[in-house]
Amino acid sequence: MPELGISLSSLTGLITSPYLMGLILLAVPLGMFFGAMPGLGGKLGIVIMIPFVFGMESTAGAVFLLAMHAVVHTGGSLTSILFGIPGTGPDAATIVDGHPLAIKGQAGRALGASLAASGFGGVIGALVMMLLLPVFRPIALNFGSGEIFLVTVLGILFIAILSGKQLIAGLIIGCLGLMCSFIGMDPLSGQERFTFGQLYLWDGLDLITAVIGLFALPEVIELLTRQTGHHARFSYGMQDTLRGMLEVLEHKWLALRTAIMGAVLGMIPGLGGDVAAWMCYGHAVQSSERPEEFGQGRIEGVIAPETANNSKEGGALLPTLFLGIPGSSGMAIMLGALIMLGIQPGPQLAFNGEHLVWTLVWALVLANLIAVVFFLVLAGPMATLTTLRSSFLAPPVTLLMITGCLLSSAYWQTLLVLLCLGGLGLILKHLDWPRAPFVIGLVLGGTAETSLNKAYTIWGWGFLLEPVALILLGLIIASLVFYLWRRTRS
């Protein structure tokens, strides 16, 4: 078992090196900060840190950057849960149930579940990466444009599932989200669509702005209009956090399934980082006994996307390291940084860089575990913020919201989009219509359209007859039948 030997020696090499462990300890809070600050995110974190790692020995630099990048989403869930403002795009899915939990006064519980799920997801993601090392090439190579399209169709189906009892309302909102995803340049003809002559709209709607508008703005308006009282009903205790953490154990199979789903989805270049979290959220609703309670504060709605967010980083590392092709936009910048550090990603790394690869895998595991400890210390004081008087809380939350939007897309038009979608969010909240289907449509519409265009141009409808496509079609039909069966039964 030479593999096991290399793996263990890499682990001992890492934990017995005060220098490398020190770097991980420094990287973890930095990564969590970049994640927690809306609009900053992991990509910008790497860009900002590149000059600092320049000149470092290659393994040390790579360990530092990877450890930082690995825990971005652990930090990102903080603002998502507490204020309904996503730190990064993939954290947006956590808002749907995480923020209602905070409003109910269960911020500690939601944060506990989020941090345990993030840690668990990160570790499982790294383990899946290790296990898939020998077989990932055929998996990645079997996921063409046709298969990516079918994965997005599976995701779009979740619109119906996420709508709960309000199927028609959910479908209307989902279709509105899909329509909004078509704003911008037509990928096939290069023509402008719904851009109203504005260059700003050529790249479509910004996801972070959309989520802040739909979910956070209505909450802030409620905070501002409620002159007295507290944001949350009761205060926070450490036992709430621990309770939340233990709930991940109660839902261990869900966490395991979403962790594996996240890692595999992360491995597929072109699917986009936001997709994994939403797909796994949809899966949590689909597999729940009480799907109608999602959106009002179900703990599974926090566990599933948080697990997926961290596990997908392990998956995304595979094509980045061994094909030199990044699995996500964050990994694309990581790839550039690795090259700068003198690491040449490619298939040869599996033969001559095993020690480095295992060191990176263990760095991923350790960073995720250390982040749990950091988060545990931070969660307490942060959760008490929600118990502040509304009049104290509203101004900084508004500032955070606007800063998040502008950091994500620094144009004045962003504020206009924020207001428009905020108005939509208010109306939907007032009508008690589900808001998550809009984001699913927005996240998946563009990828679905481009991949269908590509697949159809290359193979015609024949792409549906490929082996992996047939499996995915089977999954789509099974999901649909399962959904209809459950709907008629209830």
């Binding site: 990509k43 990645a140 990928p187 096939l188 700003y200 141009t457």
Partner: protein, 411 residues
């Protein structure tokens, strides 16, 4: 000579010779204690951003007591940032970098452009990115293979209007290659698609595709310019250079490829400040420390000064009439073009439809009055002048209903 004429002459002389009076020393003082904003017309983290951040750090060393801050202005395929730079205050405190492919956008009259590249004050360029075509199909090793294959060779592009899309479409059309460009492969997705066999190849810069080839994932089919690897250089390929349209197009592509990672200031930047910026830019790029760092980051450095860039941009924006026509017809299509040399069979009423033989198959193709270009004895002609038996080189769209794009005939 009356008073107004004298004044006009004086003004003209002053205008023409004002760079000679420019005083870089006082201009150098102008930058002291000031902050220069370096616009990057795309997101943080990409190639443009890496170059800008690297150059900015070393330019600061050339301009003591001056700060250079990077401002990312992404969106609309570099148009937002470039439009903004064009309209920025021309005081030397705003400079910017954007995609060289905007030359093609300006040539094809793309909507959304609010600038004239000819009017920017160019500071310089940092690199040369020779174009190469990579193929993963073993049965395609040269140009001739691409002319004779039955199924189109599928090539990746990130989107309509991007440099790789325009260049591949136009090369295929001009050289009669059976290539179909599939848009929608951003970043490294194109390489991934080639790797899994979904697509057959990709046209891109040598520096970005080199690792892909070195990892054994494909082979170079051709290059447009010199590369340190054995492959056909289209600039010296006899079967290509005898085609006048192809020569003009290759000249444009090569000029564009030598203008990689441009940096410009808004039009009408004071000449003395422009001189200081150009000197600092070139000195930064020529410094051994920057070059060492760039080698490590795998960023090729081939610097040139702003005056050279301005001349090249001017040349690129004045292509031959044939190339301009190509741009007019290739703005949004991604249809595979087939090419054959044969005798015309039946010619329909007023030449609106022709039949001819291609590889043993009888093809019936439409000759459009507006889109198809007909040449007889190298002279532009009307489709009604076509006649049965003429020996013609015919380029036509192979999919759906066949339509002639260009035909050169001899009676």
């Amino acid at each position: 000579m009356n008073y107004s004429k004298t004044l006009g002459l004086l003004c003209s002389i002053l205008f023409i010779t004002h760079p000679l009076f420019a005083n870089p020393d006082s201009a150098r003082d102008f930058f002291k204690g000031k902050t220069i904003t370096y616009i990057v017309a795309t997101n943080a983290g990409g190639g443009y951003d890496s170059y800008a951040r690297l150059i900015a750090r070393y330019m600061e060393k050339q301009l003591p007591d001056t700060r250079i801050v990077i401002r990312n202005m992404p969106g609309a395929g570099h148009l937002i940032g470039t439009n903004w730079l064009y309209k920025a205050k021309p005081d030397g405190l705003t400079i910017g970098t954007f995609n060289t492919g905007l030359i093609y956008s300006q040539l094809s009259g793309r909507s959304g452009i609010q600038f004239d590249l000819n009017r920017f004050d160019w500071i310089g360029k940092a690199a040369t990115d020779t174009r190469v075509m990579v193929s993963s199909r073993e049965n395609i090793g040269n140009l001739q293979d691409l002319r004779t294959i039955d199924q189109p060779f599928l090539s990746a592009s990130s989107g309509i209007g991007t440099a790789s899309h325009v260049e591949t479409t136009l090369l295929a059309r001009t050289l009669g290659l059976n290539i179909k460009v599939i848009p929608g492969y951003g970043g490294n997705e194109g390489e991934m698609a080639v790797l899994r066999g979904e697509l057959h190849g990709i046209l891109g810069s040598y520096s970005s595709l080199r690792p892909f080839v070195e990892n054994g994932n494909g082979q170079l089919l051709w290059s447009i310019g010199e590369v340190d690897s054995e492959t056909t250089n289209l600039l010296h390929e006899p079967s290509v250079t005898k085609n006048q349209d192809a020569r003009a197009l290759l000249d444009l592509i090569q000029t564009t490829s030598t203008l990689s990672r441009l940096t410009a200031a808004p039009p009408n930047t004071p000449a003395d400040r422009l001189t200081v910026l150009r000197e600092a830019y070139l000195a930064a790029l020529n410094s051994p420390e920057l070059q060492k760092e760039a080698r490590r980051m795998r960023l090729p450095i081939v610097p040139e000064s702003g005056d050279v860039v301005a001349a090249k941009i001017k040349r690129a924006l004045q292509p031959s009439e044939s190339v301009l026509q190509l741009f007019a017809t290739a703005s949004s299509t991604s249809v595979a073009i087939r090419s054959t040399e044969t005798a015309l069979g039946e010619v329909g009423e007023k030449g609106k439809r022709i039949t001819f033989d291609h590889g043993g198959k009888s093809i019936s193709a439409k000759v459009s009055g507006s889109r198809s270009q007909v040449f007889i004895n190298d002279q532009k002609a009307d489709r009604a002048d076509l006649a049965t038996g003429m020996q013609c080189k015919i380029d036509y769209t192979a999919e759906g209903k066949a339509e002639v794009t260009t035909m050169h005939c001899q009676p």
